[in-house]
Amino acid sequence: MTYLILNLLLGIFAIWCSTHVVTKDAENESAVINLLMISGAIAFIMAGANALIIYNGPVRFTEIVEHVLLLLDVVFFSLVAQYFLSFQKSKVSFFVKLLTFIFIAAGAYVSIAKISIENLREFTITSLPVFTGNLAILIPITWEQVFIGFYKFALPGFSMIIMLLKSENSNSRLSLQKASINVLGMVFYWLGYLFLMYCIKRLPMLKVMYPFFYAALALIFVRSLSHNKIYDFTALTTLVLKAIVRFVIPAFSCALIYVVLRPMYNKSHGLYVVLVFGFTLLAVYIFAFLSRMLSKFSNLRSAQYDTAFEEALSQINYDAESKEVCDNLLAIFKNYVSTQNMTVLTDNGNNELSVAYTSNENNFTVNINSRFIDVLLNTNTFILFKEDVAVNHELQEVRAELDELFIKSKSEAIIVMNEGSHVLGIIFLGEKRTGGSYDDYDKVVFTKLYSYFFVFGYYMKNIANASVVGTVNREIRMSAQIITSIQENMDYLNNPKMDAGYLMVPAHNIGGEFVDMIHLTATRHIFVIGSVSGKGISASMSMVIMKSIIRTYLATTHDFKKLVQKVNEFIRFNLPKGTFFAGLFCLMDFKTDTLYYINCGIPTMLLYTQAYSNVIEIQGKGYVLGFVKNIMPIAKVKQMHLNPGDIVGVSTNGLIDSHSLRGEQFGKDRLKQAITDNFMYPASRMVSFAMDSLKHFMSKELESDITMLFLKYMGKDAVVAEDEESVAEDGNDEFNAESEDEAVEPSVEENVSEQDETSSESLEQPSVDNNELDSNMEIPNMDSVVDSNVDDTIDESIDFPIEESVDTMSDNLNEMEDFFDESLKNL
């Protein structure tokens, strides 16, 4: 009954295995699947025969069943021979098929016609001698012996030798290894068969266990097909050592315990059972423990190298020279993946990937715009093995290119290191030392550890520039002092009627934002705040130049709007293409308590009115400088009458666009809140509090430069006699602040009355009106301050006819479109 169950279990197991065989060798795979299924069938039929015997089934039927088993033996070994003869071939030749058919037919004939079942219970067979007469005496061989000798030994043995010779001639180490595993399997089967035959003499029923050897043989064939790694000496030693510790030594030890304690069996069954069980358990546990310990030795690690490989990759020291880093990476590949050589290509800046490292003197380039790179990126194929090119249908259109690449690079695998759609470089891995190809496990590991290859690629791309860092940092350090000094170089407001506070905090070293205060006369002060596009030292350079240029222009320009136009022209024609300035120009006239301003794209301009204790946004529309040739038609001078306690807060976009850790934007509301909360403090404290509020909100390093200017109007009473005198002295000098102006009047009563006149841009600015000002309002000139020796004249404000203005604006819009187009092209 036990044998019946065991055979049933074996049958189920063999059939299950046959449905789970996955190898890369389709033809041979089907052969071993057939063998597994036949071994399963034999096990099932054997179980059936057992059942017939146990339950006294019909004798004739039992005999037929046992003949069927013999026939299946013939089929099994004929297919084994066919498998050997066609090993590593893509197709079974007609000749081999014919031979197989002949062997099966002959075997069927012998098993049915020449062999009879002698003992159904013990599965013994008998047959007549092959020869008769004298020849029978000379060669006393029976059909049974011929049957067994030919089908179980001669046929597989002969075909096995052919397989070995063919593998030897193929010069493929992997093929030879696979053939060797098959041979070992066959030898194992023969030994097992002989052992079984030996045991059968004592225990005839043990013969029913022979399907186990068939299944084992088929499984060994499966193993030889699915195993695509070539065992080198270390791997083979490791394998053998582990098998010895895990299986062989425990087997011999436990068998020894069993045999040694055997004499106790007759004395005390119970004690014998307990002792054998106890000692066996102890031996198994100890050797299992030793086996685990053995696996921890790095030299005896298993073929599953991912953990150790990752550990090694994570230990690469990127502070070292690039050659050392590459050597380390190659050593890691050699150690864990058996890669023989490696070539690394990186972007050389000329739309080419060129060799940055090679261990086998490869020298080739790859065009970064090659079609295959696009295809690899589009299909997210970052790890590609040579063998995959033929089978991956997504790569069909670039198959030829990839094949050529693998040949050109003498590689078997590539790892594409990309940053978005930009390829940083490619690692080419040469063939494995063991001769095997890169397999699915390698792919899984490479994919899992791709981040390490990315870091390597990023390092290779940038390390060439590392020497620049020292120079640049030194230059920045030296320049930062100069730039800070230039930034701080301004005519600080010293007028009791107004308190000005500002803050400039660059996010990284130096930036392109600035605040400037220019003293024109005792009653006139210019404020400029803004940001030159770009970041870092290049933007700083533009900022420094622009700041100086504004002062130079002031020497000859006496119209506020023209000043802005000149700055606009300067940016457009003299600074690098694409540079623009987003900011605000203000002119404070203390005599009339009026602030004139031109919004040049300042994102935030807030006005706090003390009377109503609220903050409103007043910047309206503005156009950044540097986009259009002529800003005059679209720039507007606005004016705002300030009352005591009013605060104007201006900030660049760095402040309001800053994000917190959770991704929230600081926004204008928080700035408004900061103004409302701290209106009682001096302007310098207010900007500090606003900055504190930002820091608290962000809780991380600054993302962008932060620049703020707060102007706090103190009151009319503070006009001093000295100022009056200055005005009188400077009375001949004039500075024209208006053209087509808009007035901003913080008085709400007036605002309410003027709502109808408020332009569309002033929805949030109840204090804005569109009252046209006197076109020739004269403002004392700044020449007393800037020491210009040029004669001053009063510039007439430009009065644009509506039609002309519209046309000009349209032209300007076209220019802006052109500019954007050009910028996009440049990008």
Binding site: C199, L256, T280, Y458, S479, G536
Partner: protein, 465 residues
């Protein structure tokens, strides 16, 4: 039970199974007759039986282990941490890390997180919930776990202190070189203990990877900025030589460190008059380049370019306006009038401007000597314009001191050699570009293997018929 415990039990169970099956097969399945066989035979049979049993149980053991790992790490509560660990592998920046904290730990696993750089006392990230947003929490954590806290994983108790028993933990934190990642989770007890080791290892690797990427990003950013700056500076210089009436011009510009304080400009005033300028700002590198940009653009925007004195004053004022202590420029400013055949110039301490003119006995060199002090640092007084006659085929050479001060192996400056003078005379008959090439070749020949120590800038103008 934790994965490790489960694995141990499975391992022990497998050992028991092997012993049991071995005994059963040997004791019950083998008939008595076999007992009578020779010991060696019996021994071999037992070996085979054991091998069969061991192979089968070993296979089952491996499968059971895989099943346990899958079940423990990829299902249930621990799977959240496992997913997080798997995602860390592909984080290259803090932003990537914050993203997976939000997506996995906060949204999926209902955890809250505070991520602190305790050395800088800086919160890198905190989840938007009451506990982690509360300043008291941060204060307590900072107080309890200083930056010197040993690397590893620690369980957090209910009062934000340390607990040794994971069952009583309300969270845990990972500490790696002063960077602390606090994860608050009321079901910490349900996480498999085996997850912490790979979690910490991956966290450490992330820190290291981010630092590497960040360092390299800085290199990338700086080198890009550096290139942009050089490009910006070159934009201030003439992009191409203008076509001038009866004048041919060639120039050479080689900054020592990517950017420099040397500059030159050619600004046509009208058909016959051209403003030629070449100068050198004190110092080198970026600070000098900043002033160079300032000077170039100041000159560019001045409307009356014929008034050389005003230009000098404007430049002087622009530099002084910057209120820098040690920045000034030497500069040669001139207007070549090809109608009157004159050159009017202000030489603000610039060395070596020369007119090479043809004479019966060969070429003669006429220096355009300094008539003004350095610009931008001292008070300028008495700036006046000098004038020289020009003749057909006269060649005017403007060069920064980097040219004449190139030294050979013995420390001899090029300007002091006869070879320099001879080359100028010999090449004077050539076109300006050829002349420039000859001088450049001479410079590199003279310096040999020595490094250059200064920016080299030259401009050569030739009056043609």
């Amino acid at each position: 039970m934790m994965l490790k415990g489960k694995k141990r039990i499975v391992s022990l169970a497998c050992c028991i199974l092997v012993a049991m099956f071995f005994l059963i097969v040997s004791y019950y399945f083998l008939p008595r007759t076999l007992i009578m066989v020779p010991v060696a035979t019996l021994y071999l049979v037992e070996v085979v039986i054991f091998l069969f049993v061991q192979v089968i149980v070993d296979t089952a053991y491996k499968k059971a282990n895989q099943y346990l790992e899958r079940k423990t790490l990829y299902t249930g509560e621990t799977s959240f941490l496992q997913k997080f660990i798997d995602s860390i592998r592909f984080c290259y920046s803090y932003d990537d890390f914050y993203k997976i904290i939000q997506d996995i730990l906060e949204v999926t696993a209902d955890c809250s997180v505070i991520y602190i750089d305790s050395k800088k006392n800086y919160v890198l990230y905190s989840s938007p919930d009451k506990l982690t947003s509360d300043p008291k929490t941060l204060a307590k954590l900072t107080q309890n776990f200083p930056s010197t806290w040993q690397d590893g994983v620690t369980y957090l108790g209910h009062h934000l202190g340390v607990v040794s028993k994971y069952r009583k933990a309300r969270g845990f934190f990972l500490s790696s070189e002063g960077i602390h990642l606090f994860i608050f989770c009321r079901y910490t007890r349900l996480f498999d203990l085996g997850i912490y080791k790979p979690f910490f290892a991956e966290f450490e690797r992330f820190q290291k990877r981010t630092a590497t990427i960040s360092g390299l990003s800085e290199v990338a950013g700086l080198s890009k900025e550096w290139e942009q700056l050089a490009e910006t500076q070159r934009l201030f210089l003439p992009q191409e030589m203008p076509n001038l009436h009866r004048l041919k011009v060639a120039a050479y510009f080689r900054p020592l460190v990517n950017v420099s304080g040397d500059y030159y400009s050619i600004l046509p005033i009208d058909k016959h008059k051209t403003l030629l300028m070449l100068g050198d700002v004190s110092g080198k590198g970026l600070p000098a380049a900043l002033i160079m940009g300032l000077v170039m653009n100041t000159v560019k925007i001045i409307e009356d370019k014929e008034d050389l004195v005003s230009i000098i004053y404007a430049v002087d004022k622009a530099i002084k306006g910057m209120k820098l202590q040690d920045k000034y420029t030497v500069l040669f400013l001139s207007i070549v009038d090809t109608q009157k055949m004159t050159i009017r110039y202000v030489n603000a301490s610039m060395s070596d401007p020369l007119i090479v003119t043809r004479a019966p006995d060969g070429y003669r060199i006429k220096p355009l000597s300094s008539n003004c002090g350095v610009v931008g640092i001292l008070d300028l007084d008495n700036v006046h314009v000098d004038e020289q006659r020009l003749f057909r085929d006269d060649l005017i050479l403007f060069a920064s001191d980097g040219v004449s001060e190139v030294m050979d192996d013995e420390g001899v400056e090029l300007g002091d050699t006869e070879k320099y003078t001879e080359t100028i005379k010999e090449s004077a008959s050539k076109q300006p570009q050829e002349f420039v090439d000859d001088i450049v070749n001479l410079i590199f020949e003279h310096k040999g293997n020595n490094k250059l120590h200064d920016d080299i800038t030259m401009m050569v103008t030739k009056v043609v018929n």
